[in-house]
């Protein structure tokens, strides 16, 4: 096959994953976001060490999951679980939105996007590499948070079975598996944020707009989910199953909502990403 390209150029070799990882790694916001993943467990730990004792010990069974905080200091696994629980609602959403929403939009705002495309990095490849690297960073942040929390918690509170108020203690070995399961589920639900942020990143040149827009829509969906009057419509909200990972704490683990949540997340993410690719391969780059 004759090629139209210059010597040494292969479309599939453009923008290697490693090059994109380095592009992102050199950025301050990447370093800050990842650093905060380690800092957060430390802050929580210090708060537990120097903060006053909690007075609200009269929690009822219906709020059994609220008592995760009471159990947080019972061992490394519980500490890691607590750190994940407090970050799942907002912090992780922001971090994932940052990694996925900023990636294309920031290149557009710097003007470097057009040079990448003229290099030429094929559009599908550019988007694919950007997405894979953004997802890898998001996953890394998640693992970093859990790992740092597990390490700090174990050093300070020891290696103990995973406790919860609703089910029997889970032996530490199995507890690690549960924690991994929870991490996996969180990663899957965050795909919705990743998809939305990535789509917005493609649609706009303003990185802030993509990140903020994704977080905003996520919060909006969470609020709508609180309105029970919406009935069955709530089931199709992307955030409806975001708490289902709590089911993995019971014995035997409840996976029904986890599975439904995974379906919802995967479908949403696939739709968002398909739209992003569809749009990006057809749009005029005007930045």
């Amino acid at each position: 096959m004759t090629t139209s390209a210059t010597h040494g150029y292969r479309p599939s070799a453009t923008l290697p994953i490693r090059a994109e990882i380095r592009r992102q790694a050199s950025r301050r916001r990447t370093q800050l976001a990842l650093g905060f993943m380690i800092l957060l467990p430390l802050i929580v730990l210090l708060a537990f060490e120097f903060g006053g004792g909690s007075n609200d010990n009269d929690r009822r069974g219906a709020e059994a999951f609220g008592s995760l905080v009471d159990l947080a200091t019972s061992g490394g696994l519980n500490f890691a679980l607590f750190c994940l629980a407090v970050s799942a609602g907002f912090l992780l959403v922001v971090v994932v939105a940052l990694f996925c929403g900023d990636t294309v939009a920031s290149e557009a705002s710097w003007g470097s996007l057009r040079y990448l495309l003229a290099a030429p990095v094929p559009r599908v490849r550019l988007l694919g590499v950007k997405l894979v690297v953004a997802l890898a960073y998001s996953l890394f942040a998640l693992v970093l948070l859990a790992g740092a929390a597990l390490l700090l918690g174990t050093v300070r509170y020891g290696w103990a079975p995973l406790s919860s108020t609703v089910a029997a203690q889970i032996p530490a070995g199995q507890g690690v598996l549960r924690l991994l399961g929870i991490l996996g589920y969180l990663a899957v639900t965050l795909l919705v944020v990743a998809g939305l942020a990535f789509l917005l990143s493609v649609l706009t040149d303003a990185a802030l707009g993509a990140v903020g827009g994704a977080v905003l829509l996520w919060i909006l969906s969470s609020i709508l989910d609180q309105i029970t009057a919406l009935g069955g419509l709530r089931d199709i909200l992307p955030t409806h199953y975001s708490q289902a990972w709590l089911g993995l704490l019971s014995t035997p683990a409840q996976t029904d909502d986890v599975v439904k949540g995974a379906i919802s997340a995967v479908v949403y993410a696939a739709v968002f990403w398909a739209l992003a690719f569809w749009r990006f391969t057809r749009k005029d780059i005007t930045s």
């Binding site: 004759t2 139209s4 390209a5 210059t6 010597h7 040494g8 150029y9 479309p11 070799a13 453009t14 290697p16 090059a19 592009r23 050199s26 950025r27 301050r28 009822r60 069974g61 219906a62 709020e63 999951f65 003007g111 470097s112 996007l113 057009r114 040079y115 990448l116 495309l117 003229a118 030429p120 990095v121 559009r123 599908v124 490849r125 609703v166 089910a167 029997a168 203690q169 009935g231 069955g232 419509l233 409806h240 199953y241 708490q243 089911g247 019971s250 014995t251 409840q254 996976t255 029904d256 909502d257 599975v259 439904k260 379906i263 995967v266 696939a270 057809r282 005029d284 780059i285 005007t286």
Partner: protein, 913 residues
């Protein structure tokens, strides 16, 4: 449509056909979703209310007026089987409306009624008396048999099932025993022996049990709220006199006399179970301190003894626990549907007599309700399990105090105010110090799946000869939290006790049946307490001595987990993921094929031409046309200037050349290959379009490296040294680009465009921001670059720039080419000179005599003369000869002249292009 105010139009997005279509699609989709969600379902049934007067009572002489509602399935072919649906104590036919509608929708004629003594029905409450309530129901069977819609087995014998919970469940049993026309029954959470239910005795002794005062009070007391319309005893409300006096006597003494016992037994299915021939599905709640699992167990054994098919199902709910989790409700609904389906409709195979039950698994993460797992066994194991585990508990014989009137008393359950299931797990239990003896086991080494009634043996001594005790089994977690499963306690009343424990004979105590997994590491604690707030207590204080024998027998059942219908979602998930992956694969394959085909589609005649632009047109979605029609060619060795005023369409053209923008029509060919976004041939083009674009946090050098890495080409091809030399940034190349001046960035961008020495270099306003020496240097660089067969395309609005840098020029205005060709040619088209003279009118006169095309005065002392080929020396000589002083003769060879001549003086474009 009237024109929108201009200001509004500027704010609103431009209305285009595509946007209208997209918006309509979104609105339509939303409307459909909302519509489906809120559209009311057309009920699948019809209902009619009627008052039916029945002759009832021991002699069939009393007339009672019952309010009834009859449901029929809307779509039915022929006659349908009927179901008599009875309500619970204190309810009316409205309390079973949902169930009635559900059954009617499943194809049954459903008759609900308000039992006598309740609601708007007349009569009095006789506690499911065979002479009253059961007879009422028999009359309702007569009524059903006469309905034309109802299927009959014989004249006057409807095909009918009876279903009900609690009070209605007992009615189903008693009716089936009294009337053989009943074809199937489903008694739920109901009693076997009312005397035992209200006076339970858990020890194997003859003495009557302990009065269950709080449930009894709720049961009977709820009827006193509405006074008897006939104006009877206000203490009795609508209770029949004999029922009322039996209750009052029992509640006063704490024991039942023979009259009361006879009355309770009359209202109990226990004595008549052998007469039941209708297949029976018994549903009992595991969280029920009023009618515990042992009541259904007794019913099951009694009915099965005569060979009647019996099936038992337990669910996590009951009088304390409510309807239970959705999975349990679904299972029970399925069982009922199957039961009636076979025995009434004749559809489906005969249901197996397998036993199903559920166990609490934890909380639901989403709605905070309980989650249970269901299990099945091939046969009903009773309350003794299919196996058993013995656990040793230790503790000394202890003296415990029974307080006067049972106050303060231990707390185990809260009849009637249970707020669902979750409260029961958290252990709203309390034992009063000094009033209980505890016996604890060692931590369990393995989990025990308890399903059934645990058994212990204890000895007790009392100075008074009697003792009222409450035996409980706690599940104690490693953290010390003790849970009393479902709040169930075993009341024990012992008589004839010795005063010394040494003389006491052990009695066997059967604790209430529970379904619970005792996890490994948990301990079992047996507590013997003297009081319980839910039960009657002796008025006099006493002290007992109790000792529990070490062995606790726990019945175990290992059931097969019932496949949760929710597991289907796992396959859905797998299918969704597979579909997405498949879609991705297909898309990639199709794309790959298309790309390969495109690669072959080259035009050989242009294979050696760096750039050919043909009939290029670009119109934006909002209708703005940036490029009307542009076509030109860049040959090897040329430096071509794309010249035009701002907004002429230069940048849009270059964007198309970079594959950033799709042209509306026409194309651009680079070495014969059509340019499309991402065309591999772009790798032979270096570009600077619309200013530099760098990663601000990287240094200039790192930026160039990062860019080159992104091209994926070998590093040796980049020729960084040459590019850096062209950039001429010195040491600044290692500073971050965000600190660069505009000119530095511009030079770095040109260097980036030149990386790898591409065969075609496209530069948009390259001298923007450069100072004059740098501009001069850049000109030399570009001229030199275009040797060795390379070509350069430079866009500029600076005319001098193009004139001095380029070999060829393409002049664009308003999206169209106005001229193109070698710079000299374009410049040469202007044959005029400017002559400054001392006397303009005289000069004009002289010049008009010469062979020139035109003479135009320009200002007070100058003339523009179109020479028409006349040598300038002749003109000057003629003027001087005529005495006109000539100050200056300036040849108008500047491109500016040509440019203005070509595009006119209106250099304002039609907009930002």
């Amino acid at each position: 449509m009237p024109a929108l105010p201009a200001r509004l139009r500027r704010v609103l997005p431009r209305v285009t056909r595509r946007r209208i279509l997209a918006a309509s699609a979104v609105v339509l989709l939303l409307a459909v979703v909302v519509g489906v969600a809120v559209w009311p379902d057309r009920p699948a049934w019809t209902s009619t209310d009627a008052r039916i007067t029945v002759r009832t009572g021991p002699d069939d002489t009393d007339r009672v007026d019952l309010s009834t509602r009859f449901y029929l399935p809307r779509d039915r072919s022929g006659k349908v089987p009927a179901i008599l649906l009875a309500h619970g104590f204190g309810g009316t036919m409205d309390s079973v409306r949902d169930d009635a509608e559900d059954l009617a929708a499943r194809g049954y004629a459903v008759l609900t009624w308000t039992a006598q003594g309740f609601g708007t029905s007349t009569g009095q409450i006789h506690l499911d008396s065979p002479d009253w309530e059961v007879k009422d129901a028999q009359r309702l069977l007569d009524w059903l048999a006469a309905r034309p819609e109802v299927r009959t087995d014989a004249d006057g014998d409807p095909r009918v099932g009876v279903i009900g919970g609690s009070y209605g469940g007992a009615l189903a049993l008693l009716l089936a025993a009294q009337d053989r026309r009943v074809d199937a029954i489903v008694p739920m959470i109901t009693w076997n022996d009312l005397a035992r239910s209200f006076l339970p005795q858990s020890a194997d002794v003859a003495a009557t049990g302990v009065f269950k005062k709080s449930w009894a009070g709720l049961f009977f007391g709820s009827t006193a709220a509405g006074p008897d319309p006939a104006g009877g005893n206000p203490a009795c409300g609508r209770l029949a006199a004999d029922v009322c006096s039996a209750y009052l006597a029992t509640a006063t003494s704490g024991t039942a006399d023979d009259v009361a016992l006879r009355l309770f037994r009359r209202s109990s299915p226990a004595a008549v179970l052998d007469r039941i021939s209708a297949p029976t599905l018994l549903v009992q709640g595991e969280v029920d301190t009023l009618f515990p699992l042992s009541e259904a167990d007794a019913n099951a054994r009694g009915i099965a003894a005569t060979g009647t098919p019996v099936r038992v199902a337990w669910y996590t709910g009951g009088h304390d626990g409510g309807d239970g989790p959705q999975t349990d409700q679904d299972r029970i609904h399925f069982l009922i549907d199957q039961w009636f389906g076979h025995y009434l409709k004749g559809t489906g195979a005969a249901p197996a007599d397998s036993f199903t039950y559920s166990r609490v698994a934890g909380f639901s993460a989403l709605d905070r309700g309980l989650v249970t797992n269901a299990y099945s066994r091939p046969a009903y194991p009773g309350l003794t399990g299919t196996g058993s585990a013995a656990v040793a508990v230790r503790g000394p014989a202890q003296e415990i105090a029974s307080p006067p009137n049972g106050n303060p008393g231990a707390l185990s359950s809260l009849p009637g105010i249970s707020s669902g299931l979750s409260g029961l797990l958290d252990g709203a239990t309390r034992d009063v110090p000094g009033q209980f003896a505890a016996y604890q086991s060692a931590p369990l080494t393995a989990a025990v799946d308890v399903a059934g009634a645990p058994v212990i043996r204890l000895r007790a001594a009392s100075a008074t000869g009697t003792a009222t005790l409450f035996v409980k089994l706690y599940d104690v977690g490693p953290d010390g939290a003790a849970t009393l499963s479902s709040g169930l306690v075993a009341p024990v009343r012992l008589t004839g006790l010795p005063s010394d424990l040494g003389d006491a004979q052990p009695v066997t105590v059967t604790l209430p049946a529970i379904v619970r997994r005792l996890d490994a590491g948990h301990t079992v604690r047996i507590v013997v307490a003297t009081s319980d707030q839910a039960y009657f207590a002796p008025a006099r204080p006493a002290t007992y001595t109790v000792a529990v024998e070490p062995r606790v027998t726990l019945p175990t059942v290992v059931g097969t987990p019932i496949a949760d219908p929710q597991t289907v979602w796992r396959y859905v998930l797998a299918a969704v993921v597979a579909a997405i992956l498949l879609g991705l694969l297909v898309t990639l394959l199709v794309r790959g094929r298309r790309l390969r085909r495109r690669e072959h589609r080259a035009l050989p005649e242009y294979a050696d031409t760096p750039l050919v632009v043909r009939g290029l047109r670009k119109a934006y979605a909002d209708g703005f046309v940036a490029v009307e029609e542009i076509g030109f060619t860049v040959e090897r060795g040329q430096v071509v200037g794309l010249l035009g005023p701002n907004g002429a369409g230069k940048t849009t053209t270059l964007r198309v050349l970079m594959g950033l923008t799709m042209p509306t029509a026409g194309d651009a060919l680079v070495f014969g290959h059509r340019l499309e976004p991402g065309s591999p041939v772009l790798s032979r083009v270096g570009a600077l379009v619309e200013g530099p674009g760098f990663l601000p946090h990287l240094s200039g050098y790192e930026n160039l490296r990062a860019y080159w890495r992104a091209t994926g080409r070998p590093e040796s091809d980049a020729r960084f040294a040459e590019a850096l030399e062209i950039a001429g940034l010195g040491d600044s190349v290692h500073r971050r680009t965000k600190n660069y001046s505009h000119g530095m960035r511009q030079r770095l961008a040109i260097a980036q465009a030149m990386l790898g020495m591409p065969e075609l270099l496209v530069l948009d306003e390259p001298t923007d921001g450069l100072d004059p020496p740098q501009i001069a240097e850049m000109r030399r660089v570009l001229r030199r670059y275009a040797t060795d067969g390379r070509a350069v395309l430079v866009s500029s609005h600076l005319l001098a720039e193009v004139e001095q840098t380029c070999t060829h020029a393409v002049v664009v205005n308003k999206g169209r080419i106005v001229a193109s060709g070698p710079v000299e040619e374009i410049v040469g088209e202007s044959p005029s000179v400017t002559i400054e003279v001392s006397d303009v009118p005289e000069a004009s006169r002289v010049l008009s005599g010469l062979d020139v095309r035109s003479v135009t005065p320009e200002g007070p002392s100058s003339l523009v003369v179109d020479m028409n080929g006349t040598p300038r020396a002749d003109v000057v000589a003629s003027l001087v000869r005529a005495g006109v002083g000539v100050d200056r003769v300036v040849p108008r060879r500047r491109l500016e002249d040509a440019f203005l001549a070509l595009v006119g003086d209106n250099s304002r474009g039609s907009g930002d292009r």
